[in-house]
Subunit: 155 residues, 4 copies
């Protein structure tokens, strides 16, 4: 059984995300993953101006100068994704928590047909922006993420 | 007096719209104008998959193969635009209707402070995708746009 | 007579600059203008890592924390721009020097047919990143730009 | 022994590829992979206008209407990538050839320090744009790719 919570986001596509094939470009899908991460966990600390509190506030307790860096992406495109002026449905959960990194899992669904078009994992690490050294996840961060931890998508 | 109607859109910024200066990049502002046009008037016919009906449906009566092309942009950046995870407020109206083109006017407002950050005009023309020849606006299109016609922003 | 010097740049397009119409998207044209500015005048000081000296080094004498901000764009799209895996030809010159800003003029030419596809102006100002106040162009900057000053493209 | 040929590309970064952290954004790295694929194997058939012949012409013998689609990306970011106005060095080779898909491997190197910043794989498939059905690689395509086949980057 895999009884974890999932964060469901509505992420708008942009018309310009389409490429010359007339579908959402594979690179822009990675941008949509970034937007889903930010919707779920909030904008990285120290960037932008204040806005809304996200469903899971992962960055509010992070010290100044800490950067959340992508260590690895794995992205499987299971169906071509069509542009619509209706936000994409994205399911986000945690596929793994390690000492100094976390694995985020996503499923992107067509908002009209509910077809799964993309499955993806992102490994994210917290890094000291000055020294470049990895930072351990705090007990507080682990506690916030725990209810969302479930199975990963890639064997 | 300038008693026209205005279409007010909520256009989400993306974290990746920021550049190395930490503000929304001037190029991405032009992408946000594209999104505001599409929010207000609908996606260009023949692209993407079906979605919602826009406030003013400019493209539904357009024949297959017709493209809506940007002829000119004029964009004044009056204040730096900060990223927030709150949609931008964009006011859209029509600054002029000619035989074969229309002028769209926009005002971009910070969603928290209401400060006007960008004022812009786009001249849009309808073109036959095969022959490249300009197409006249139909009486139906002009009638739909008329209530939104007001003063322009540049001299 | 208009006997100024012009900086000619070769700016690669990217396949992803095309949109669903199969042409270079109007927004990506503005990105190509940014690239032409950087090719001609160098990357804005304080961003990125060291590279090559540009044709006209506008930013090397700029103090730390100074940002070069776009105040206005005016862009006329005179022909659809086709993607090729051959760099675009861009002509850059100065259309005006004021106390605290400069006008950059561009012409974008198809690299095979030499057809002019875009004509554009950008007004650029130097701003103190902390206080936001405008900074005057230095005599040294004006002197470097003087040989490239010519007529503008918009009346 | 792994005595295959490698295609080495010079891929320019753009200033706008940096994000608010001041490094090349992880999403734009995926765009740079797309550019490296196109540099090595040519632009997908049926898109854009004619240009130069690529090192390995993978698409010239592809029938009209055939699309080259990304099935999977795996991307490991081993060091932050700094923007420079000097083209990135990218090594491209083939990590696997199957009946109806191929695995492309890449290494992205800082052009000044030669540090490897990104290692990646892309699985690409050819698809009939109308029916959506997978197409087998032709003997001619396999023959062209064979000299570039070597070991993959992910165990």
């Amino acid at each position: 059984m895999d009884a974890h919570q999932t964060i469901t986001c509505e992420i708008p596509m942009r018309w310009g995300d389409m490429d010359a094939y007339g579908h959402i470009n594979n690179v822009e899908v990675v941008r949509l993953l970034e937007e889903a991460r930010i919707h779920a966990f909030g904008p990285p600390g120290g960037t932008g101006a204040p806005g809304e509190t996200p469903p899971v506030d992962l960055f509010s307790s992070v010290a100044t100068g800490v950067q959340a860096l992508v260590v690895e992406h794995r992205i499987r495109y299971t169906a071509t994704l069509d542009y619509r002026n209706v936000p994409l449905k994205v399911q986000v959960w945690i596929a793994g928590i390690k000492a100094a990194s976390l694995d985020i899992a996503y499923r992107l669904l067509d908002p009209v047909t509910d077809r799964v078009c993309v499955k993806a994992h992102t490994t994210l690490a917290f890094v000291d922006g000055d020294s470049g050294s990895l930072l351990r996840l705090s007990p507080e961060q682990k506690q916030r993420l725990a209810p969302f931890e479930g199975k990963g998508l890639f064997g």
